[in-house]
Symmetry: C2
Subunit: 204 residues, 2 copies
Amino acid sequence: MNRFPSALLERAVDEFSKLPGIGAKTAMRLVLHLLRQDTKAVEAFGNSIIRLRQEVKFCKVCHNISDNDTCEICSNPRRDHATVCVVENIQDVMAIENTQQYRGVYHVLGGVISPMDGIGPSDLQIASLVTRVQGGEVEEVILALNPTMEGDTTNFYLYRKLADTGVKISVIARGVAQNDELQYTDEVTLGRSIVNRTLFNVSI
Amino acid sequence: MNRFPSALLERAVDEFSKLPGIGAKTAMRLVLHLLRQDTKAVEAFGNSIIRLRQEVKFCKVCHNISDNDTCEICSNPRRDHATVCVVENIQDVMAIENTQQYRGVYHVLGGVISPMDGIGPSDLQIASLVTRVQGGEVEEVILALNPTMEGDTTNFYLYRKLADTGVKISVIARGVAQNDELQYTDEVTLGRSIVNRTLFNVSI
């Protein structure tokens, strides 16, 4: 509908509008912001994205994003390679790394099973997880998927696939979050936090 | 704080985070979205921005964005070059063009006077407007700035600067907007809409 005063402008706004959550007006605002920046800065912006897409690799062990064939975590001999934490995506790896509470390695599924979105087990890195566990070096698999219906479905599917290997399978604790108010916590979470209570420990 | 699994990824997220209104998490989401697209599509995205910044021009008459030295509107002989509509930015040109109610030409100030933001008259295309009007071809200047304090200040400044030239100076009508509810309309607008009432006209 809009008649753009410049074909170059229209093209750039069009490209930005393809990004998720970016509408036509926001795209216009972002493009006009870039137009006010130095040419060098805008070139750096554009090239950073192009280079990322052209050069980025995925770790052949855990499928995390990496600059090399094997990621920093998988190639670090000081990590515990017998413990594999299964996560949905790389943001989850970063979130867990930021806690500085985990010294094992990861396995990035690339999503969760979601029939509604047409995502089945074969779309995810599940076969490679099974092969990895069958390799014999893994002692424990920690399921750290999001506490949603899709996450639970995937947990259950992984549990069935891995049960035969004899590996120890655990799942991250669910309960009330730090600074939650109990009166506003949903029943499922609060109920589970009572059932799965742990012994009081001063160090926690 | 976040340790990125890839320097390329960190770089791209960093660049996206510099955009206004885009935080670190949104930047990550956008970059990961781009990573899932074809390399060709991502190259098209990056290059569209770089090309825009490198090649875009500003019309030497009205300062609108343009692919050429003179924009399509200013170089169109069928437009009324005696009527100049003064706007803040190119989005406003596009908005007025979309109404299909205006056949004159434009003058893009590039902002409004805003001492709070350190924007004075010399930061805007005001001198070039005065020169343009002094040229003698302009018969009417329509002030179409946003109805804010900054817009009003700029209107007043422009009025004083242009008063000597003898050009007709008008300002866009203020009043209740289409589909507004009167009971929720602010007093200034509603009051002005009564004071500045127009004769009832069936064609409107």
